[in-house]
């Protein structure tokens, strides 16, 4: 079944249109990535799914239910969770309070189980649970953001450039984390500048340019598209 569907979406900020007639189908049971030049509308696409940016025209559905311009709450309740670029942890909250925010909409009796899940994934977060998140290192803040996004046990996790701005060894950690999530069968939609590495993990690719979908298909087929590879990925086949 199709999990998320964008159909003819126009969206933007104020007078400035960013997405142009964008249609894309995000199926279940796979890891997807969105690539494209800076400013091509990748983040805007993600934010339009979450209801964080005005959709001017077209529709967005989740499992067939229309969520166009709904409050992000409605989208979260349908199992779609986004990790914003840079993580955006709440700096003046403790680590545990940040996780609590991730679980803001879930039932209280599920909370403890989810804390355990997250602490299993990132043991250091349990150790630092009472510390102010803003005092942690960049890498640890990213773990807080990851853990926070995992709190509601999402059906699909939307990651906006999770490796951006991190030191090289931390970039490795992030991709290991993503691979581990894939291993456990977590659906994802990942925006990445680090195209080579994300293509090692993603099974399906969307290429965006100037707010338009230039290509979609599975990763293997993409490798045979010489024009796309050269233009957006900077590699030539063979």
């Amino acid at each position: 079944m199709n999990l998320i569907e964008l159909d003819g979406v126009d969206a933007g900020y104020g007078e400035n249109q960013v997405l142009h007639d964008l249609s894309a189908t995000i199926a279940e049971d796979r890891v997807n990535c969105v690539i494209g030049p800076n400013g091509s509308g990748k983040s805007t696409m993600m934010k339009s799914i979450l209801g964080m940016v005005d959709v001017w025209d077209g529709t967005i559905t989740i499992r067939g239910e229309d969520v166009t311009n709904d409050h992000p709450r409605e989208v979260l309740e349908r199992g779609v969770v986004m990790l914003p670029q840079g993580g955006s942890v709440f700096p003046d909250m403790t680590v545990k309070e940040n996780l609590r925010m991730g679980g803001y909409l879930i039932d209280d009796d599920l909370l403890d189980r989810q804390y355990e899940e997250v602490y299993d994934m990132f043991p250091v977060l349990e150790e630092k649970r009472a510390q102010r998140a803003g005092d942690l290192s960049g890498g640890q803040q990213m773990m807080v953001a990851f853990g926070r996004a995992m709190m509601p046990d999402p059906d699909i996790l939307l990651l906006d450039e999770p490796s951006a701005g991190l030191a090289p060894h931390l970039v490795d950690d992030v991709f290991e984390q993503i691979a581990a999530l894939k291993e456990r069968g977590r659906d994802m939609l990942i925006i990445e500048q680090n195209v080579r590495r994300v293509l090692e993990i993603a099974e399906y690719v969307y290429v965006l340019d100037q707010g338009r979908l230039e290509y979609e298909g599975d990763t293997e087929s993409l490798r045979n598209e010489d024009d796309i590879m050269e233009m957006y990925i900077g590699e030539r086949h063979g």
Binding site: R73, F90, E97, L105
Partner: protein
């Protein structure tokens, strides 16, 4: 002549008044910290609280009912003010100045509405108690101690709500990062309205608690507003810790100045302190207390 006994007396009086001032000023700093509104209508909330208390007392004869009614009615007034007057401004590019002007307009509107409705005369409010204690040569009016204790309890409750409850978590999330709070499923608009309500309710509560000292009349809110304005500027807008410290410190300065200089000069001195602090520390002292 500076007598030690009188000095001690004025320090105690100042601290007692500081608790009440903190009650008013914390609401002002809270609504700035969360919603970035400098609420010039805060004194009007104080005034409305006084009148609600006055009428409830007249109707029921119960001081407790007067205090509770003031809190509830002024909470509702604050909530509605946010939804009707502030929310429509929020989508504009420029928010700070228009929201300030709107709240100033509301203050004048409410003041004049009460003048038309009730007139400018002072309605006196009965004292809660006439008991006076004498402790080590310092006179303590039981009424002022009671008001101080109620103020501390209200501030303590606010602290518990903000640091320990789900509502408090949502309030802190919105004040730190509106968009990310939205991404977690928080409804920031509701948080703004509730925070505005809480902030107003604190002023309304102060309005009824201080009614026996200030009486109740349409312009009664301006003096406490100006004092709390000085307090939050010195303490640092948005900093609760700075606001509490500034409220205590400035209230002591005020009560000492009233005795040894004059009550008019007290206000001059407080504003002078504010200006000096703002020149030296443009964001107030709050940031230096971490």
């Amino acid at each position: 002549m500076v007598s030690v006994a009188l000095l001690a007396q004025q320090i105690v009086n100042g601290l007692l008044f500081g608790g009440q001032l903190a009650l008013i000023a914390v609401g002002l700093t809270l609504i700035w910290g969360v919603a970035r509104v400098l609420n010039f209508g805060h004194g009007a909330m104080f005034m409305v609280g006084g009148f609600v208390g006055f009428f409830t007392l007249g109707a029921t004869g119960s001081l407790v009912a007067a205090v509770i009614a003031a809190g509830i009615v002024v909470f509702a007034l604050g909530y509605v003010t946010e939804v009707v007057l502030i929310r429509p401004l929020r989508d504009r590019e420029e928010f700070g100045i228009p929201s300030m002007v709107v709240t100033l307009g509301l203050a004048f509107f409410l003041e004049n509405a009460f003048i038309v409705w009730i007139g400018t005369q002072r309605q006196s409010f009965p004292r809660f108690t006439d008991v006076i204690w004498n402790v080590a040569g310092i006179t303590l009016s039981a009424q002022r101690v009671l008001i101080f204790v109620i103020s501390l309890v209200a501030l303590g409750l606010l602290f518990v709500v903000i640091s320990r409850t789900e509502l408090g978590l949502a309030i802190r999330a919105v004040s730190q990062d509106h968009d990310t709070a939205l991404l977690m499923g928080v409804r920031p608009n509701r948080v703004y309205a509730i925070t505005f309500g809480i902030s107003a309710a604190l002023a309304g509560l102060a309005g009824v608690l201080l009614a026996p000292l200030f009486a109740v009349y349409p312009s009664v809110g301006w003096y406490p507003f100006l004092l709390s304005f000085v307090v939050v500027m010195v303490g640092g807008l948005g900093s609760v810790r700075g606001t509490l410290l500034a409220a205590m410190g400035l209230a002591v300065v005020r009560s000492i100045s009233i005795i040894w200089v004059s009550s008019q000069m007290a206000m001059v001195i407080l504003f002078a302190i504010m200006i000096v602090v703002l020149v030296a520390y443009p964001d107030g002292i709050g940031g230096y207390l971490e």
